[in-house]
Every structure is written in C-alpha cells, then in structure tokens.
C-alpha cells in the first residue's frame, strides 16, 4: 500500500546576509494512514521548516524549496504553485496544522468561532449556520465548556490550554487525512500539556488521522508516537519504530539526547552528560559528518566522509559510520 505522504530528498534554503542556510538538506520520510510519527531535534535543526515545506508555507524570499518531492495521496504537492487552488485546498482541508504559539497563530481581531468557521465554509462548503453548528461540535469534542457561548470569544479571552484545544478543534474540523502538530504543547504547563496531548490523541484516534508531532521532548514521543525521526543539522540522522530507537539507539546524537536529560524514574545522583559544543552553523557546512565536532565517539570513527542513512534493522536506519548496538550504547558515555 502506498504511504499517505512520502517526502523525498527535500531541500530548503534561506538566503541570508551571511550566506545560504541549508535549513533542510535532503530529508526523506514517509507516513502511513493513521500513523503517529514523532520528529525530534534541537532548535534550528530544521524540523519545523521541513514540516512547513510540506504545505509550502515557506516565505519566499528568503526561503526557497530547492528540490525534492512531497507526494501526498499520489500527487506531488511541490509541483503546484503555493497559491494555487490545489494548495489552498490541501492546507487546512486535507492537511491540518497545529502550531506552537496558540496566541500568535490565532488572529486576535476575529472570534475563535469565526476562525474555525472560515475553514469549514471554505473547505467543506458549509453554509454559515451549518459551519457554526459544526464549530460548536468540535469545540465540545476538545472539551471547551459552554462551547456555544465560548465560540463568540476572542482568542485573548481563552487561557493558553483552551487556545491550544481550540487550535486542535480547528485543525481537525475539516477531517484532514494528516495533521502536523509543530511543538503543540511547548508553551504549556505540564498538567495542561498532558491534558492537551490526551485530547489530541483521542481526536486523532477518533477521526483516523495520521499525525506528525514535532517536539524536542523525547518523553512525549515515547508516550505517543509509533515511529520516530531524529533530526540534526537539517537531516534525519536516525529513523525507526519508537520502541526500537529508544531501546537500541544507533546514532551517537540520539544516545546523547537521551543521556542529557534527567529522567523521573532513574537512580538519582547520575552526572548528566551534556552534548559538548553547540549546534553547527548551517552556512557552508563542510562535507563531513555534521555531528562530528560534537560526537563523543569521534575517536572510534576513522571515516572522513559524510555518512549516508543506512539500514541497521527492520525499518530502522542510522546516519553514522559506526555500528553502535544496544549492548555498548549504554556504556560509551560512562
């Protein structure tokens, strides 16, 4: 069966005063119907940009989608003009987006209801009253109390968690086949975060959407995602089923990410192992492994070339010259 979305060798650059930034440098991944995929990485690694490029939301200039294919249900979306009817139909209609900042992604001068109704009327061609009814329904589904009254509220009258829930309602209102959630809970408190993620997962399950969660929180991925892609410096460095990647990580960066955060269930008193150095500048990257300057295993690695993503197990691939298996991955950093 063909996947719902297939991204092939996507490249996005930004022309800045200091030079050409290769924000996304050859990213390929697929997502099947109803699948939940997590995308992890530090800020500036290109995780958001790669997701924005799927619906061509990259501001041009300075950004530019240089090459690649985004095949969604058999059609290459990058062949269409960003402002074509086709793309407008895809955005919000077939691919829903949930953004990080619920305050800045809502328009402050329109009510929540008007904003949800707009996409319903455009994509599903509903009448005003039918759209309103449906908007109240979805708001109730995400747990907004008094939805029929609250629909007339402006975004500032909602709390952060409610705004993000309204955002989920909006993204799912047109029953898209794919939902992209870009750091959906980063701005929220822990209990609200759990609440919002819980609602999001229930909705996704209910509507059988596929979901991409972009986050830097490994815990959220472990809790919800079936597959995981780890990005570093504009590329996917590790990809695989979530249990496999967490138990048997194959890339030093993935291992380092896991080792650098304290866990709620570990023995206390462990010395945290930070990743030395800082993320690389994406301008004029040398043609070597982008993680090499920070890699804790650099001594064991003799190769000077840039590694390719290669399979190390079933559906599990890693962009590293070394063969790190589960047995020794735990001990390298001790």
């Amino acid at each position: 069966m063909a996947p719902l979305l297939e991204v092939k060798d996507l490249r996005v650059t930004f022309d800045t005063m200091n030079g050409l930034v290769k924000a996304v440098d050859g990213v390929s991944f697929t997502i099947d119907k109803g699948e939940i995929v997590g995308l992890v990485g530090e800020s500036g690694c290109g995780k958001s940009v790669s997701q924005m490029a799927i619906t061509q939301l990259i501001a041009t200039p300075p950004g530019k989608i240089v090459s690649g294919e985004v095949i969604f249900e058999g059609r290459d979306l990058l062949k269409y003009h960003p402002e074509s009817n086709m793309m407008r139909d895809v955005r919000g209609g077939q691919i829903g987006m949930i953004f990080q900042e619920p305050m800045t992604s809502f328009n402050p001068v329109f009510t929540i209801g008007e904003q949800i109704m707009e996409s319903l009327r455009l994509h599903l061609k509903l009448s005003r009253s039918a759209a309103r009814k449906r908007a109240i329904e979805v708001l109730e589904e995400v747990g907004i109390p008094d939805a029929s009254v609250r629909i007339n509220n402006y975004p500032h009258q909602f709390s952060g968690g409610m705004r993000q829930r309204a955002m989920i309602a909006m993204a799912l209102s047109c029953s898209p086949k794919l939902v992209i959630a870009d750091e959906p809970t980063t701005a929220l408190d822990v209990t609200t975060q759990a609440q919002v993620l819980d609602i999001m997962m229930k909705m996704v399950e209910h509507y059988h959407n596929a979901l991409i969660i972009v986050t830097h929180n490994l815990g959220i991925i472990a809790r919800h995602a079936q597959r995981i892609n780890v990005m570093y410096a504009g590329r996917i460095v590790e990809s695989g089923p979530s249990e496999e990647v967490f138990l048997n990580p194959g890339h030093p960066y993935t291992i380092a990410l896991m080792k650098s955060v304290p866990r709620l269930d570990e023995k206390r008193g462990r010395h945290l192992i930070p990743i030395s150095g800082i993320p690389p500048n994406l301008i004029n990257m040398p043609p070597i492994c982008s993680f090499k300057p920070r890699c804790p295993m650099v001594d064991a690695c003799q190769s000077l070339s840039d590694p390719e993503l290669r399979p190390v197990g079933k559906n599990h691939s890693v962009r590293c010259h070394l063969n790190i298996s589960g047995q020794n991955s735990g001990t390298i950093f001790e």
Binding site: V190, I221, V261, L264, P274
Partner: protein, 328 residues
C-alpha cells in the same frame, strides 16, 4: 533546636503578597490578586529547595519577595537570623551582596550594549569589592573561568554568545559578589536540551565548590528531582506539599502532586505503556477569585464536600513531609 536554627539560612514565615487590582479613574482598589498566600518554608545551608508549580502559581513572586524586589504584604523572611522584611531600604545593599538571582531568559537579562566583562564586573564596582583596576580585572577573569568561559571573551557583547554561554554570563554575574544564597528563576527552561545539561552540571559543581544554597524555581519535575534536596509544590499561591525529594517523588500524597508527576512523560515507550496517567480537567482557577477552601478541590478527583469549606493547613504526615490536604 539550637543546632537546627543555626543550619537554617533562610526561613520564610506566613509570607503573603497581594497585588491590588485598581479600577476607574481614581484607581480605587477593587480587589486583590493573592499571588502568595500564607506560605512558610525553611532552607538549610548548602541545600537546594526546588519550588515547583504551574505558571501563575506564585513561585516567582516568592523568589522576588526573598530578593526584596517586592515588599511582602505580610509575613517574615529571616535570612541568617535577621528579618529582612523590616530592614530599612538603605541597609539593603549589604544584603543584596549575599542574595543573588539567576534569570530565566538569557537573552532578555543581559544588556545588549554592555560587554560581557562589564556585565559581570558591574556589581563588583558598585559594592567596591576590589580596590584597584588590576584586582577588578583579575576578579572578572576568575569568574569567567569559574563558569567555564574563556576570559578572552570578556570584551565581547551578549549577541556574540550562544544561549548556553549567555546563561553562564548570568551565573558569573550572580556569583560576582560572593553570595551565599541564589534564587534561580527557571534557569534552564529557555535552553535547548543538550545545553540544559551543561548548566545543570555547572550549578551543581558551583554549589559544591562554593557551598551555595539555592532556591530553584522550576516547572520541569525531572530536573527538580535531579538537583533538589527538598521540594515544595505550589498551587494558586499556597504550598500544598513539601518534603525531601525522595518522599515527594516516591510517596506523593497530595492529589495535585500525583497529577503533576503522572503528567511528566518518561522517555521510554515500554515504561510509558505501563504507567497510569491522571489527566486533570479544566484550567488553573484565577488567583483573583480563588475557589473557597482547598484551592485544588474543583479539579481534584478525591474532593469531598468538606474540601470546599476551609483552606487546609499544612500537616506533618511523616517526619518532614507536610501536606495540605484533608483527605490524606
């Protein structure tokens, strides 16, 4: 008894901070935001107290009251035995040397027009710690090395540093006057995961080296578990549970603490599948109009009719484990 009071470096007793809400042209006071409502805590020398809670629960206000940025509405703050709330303003300067602050945002908390060296050295000048330029320069260099920065970088400006390096500058500034007590207001939350670990390790090393005492204000429970000796959980201006870290994390008694802990995801899919999760409903109520009785009862799954009657007192359930809940 004598012994314990000697060890206690900071004691907060019945601290209250109300912010007035003014209305109309004459700015009449129409009500109060009870940001901090009757909290008490003790911190021993060389220890770290983690102060945890969601945004708006008043944890930053507690920190600011201790720093005397805010004047508390009521209560006592005893620092090294002295009540600093009643201290006249002109006596504050000596106190400020001893209590310092590390800010959350390493971008907003450094003056973009001041060089890193001048940011770190400013307080040394104000407090006249060094008598001449030479010793001043040497002290700044020392501080840079202490926080893991190259002293050569002292002439650079904040925009030339990365987020983690900026946070180090902020720490060097806090350390410049040899403080004994540092209020760390979410020092890690603006940093990337890989950098966060560097700063956590740095603060722990400094604590050992210099014998510092921290009040660690944070919302990331896994980080707080990693660095705190004692943990206080705040909700709507009240401390609802306070105990040593092991008790809080292994035997949480207050339903809110249990919900908070269960909300933190563990980066391990197998552990996650087995965990029971408590999902709270609704939002944190407004501190302008807090619910009657226990502040948590509208969201609590264990709430009984009695919970809405009186604000529960902190009770000692087991040694040094205090909980404000009538259902425990």
């Amino acid at each position: 008894m004598e012994q314990s009071s000697n060890n206690t470096i900071l004691e907060v007793k019945n601290l209250k901070k109300y912010f007035p809400i003014t209305k109309g042209f004459l700015r009449r006071t129409a009500g109060h935001v009870k940001a901090v409502d009757n909290i008490s805590l003790k911190i021993k020398k060389g220890e770290t107290l983690g102060l945890v809670g969601e945004s708006g629960c008043g944890k930053t206000t507690v920190g600011r009251c201790i720093l005397r940025v805010y004047d508390p509405t009521d209560g006592e703050i005893r620092f090294q035995g002295q009540d600093i709330v009643k201290l006249p303003y002109n006596k504050n300067r000596a106190l400020r040397r001893k209590i310092q602050l590390i800010f959350q945002d390493p971008y907003g908390s450094l003056d973009p027009r001041q060089s890193a060296g001048s940011i770190v050295g400013e307080a040394i000048k104000i407090h006249k710690i060094c008598d001449n330029k030479q010793t001043h320069k040497k002290r700044v260099e020392e501080l840079f090395t202490l926080v893991g920065l190259d002293p050569e970088m002292a002439s650079r400006f904040p925009h030339e540093f990365s987020g983690g390096q900026r946070q180090r500058i902020g720490i060097a500034r806090a350390l410049s006057c040899d403080p004994v007590f540092i209020v760390c207001d979410e020092p890690f939350s603006a940093l990337d995961v890989s950098i966060q670990a560097q700063i956590i390790n740095l603060l722990q090393d400094l604590q050992q080296k210099l014998g510092l005492t921290y009040l660690m204000i944070a919302h990331d429970l896994s980080v707080v578990r990693h660095i705190s000796d004692n943990v206080a959980i705040m909700y709507l201006g009240h401390i609802v549970e306070i105990a040593d870290w092991r008790e809080i994390y292994e035997r949480p008694l207050m339903p809110y603490t249990q919900a908070l802990l269960s909300a933190v995801p563990i980066p391990d899919p197998i552990v996650e599948k087995k965990r029971e999760r408590i999902i709270l409903e609704g939002d944190v109520p407004s501190p302008i109009n807090p619910p009657s009785g226990c502040p948590f009862h509208p969201r609590c799954w264990k709430a009984a009719p009695d919970c809405s009657k009186e604000i529960p007192e902190l009770r000692e359930i087991s040694p040094n484990h205090l909980v404000a809940c009538i259902r425990v």
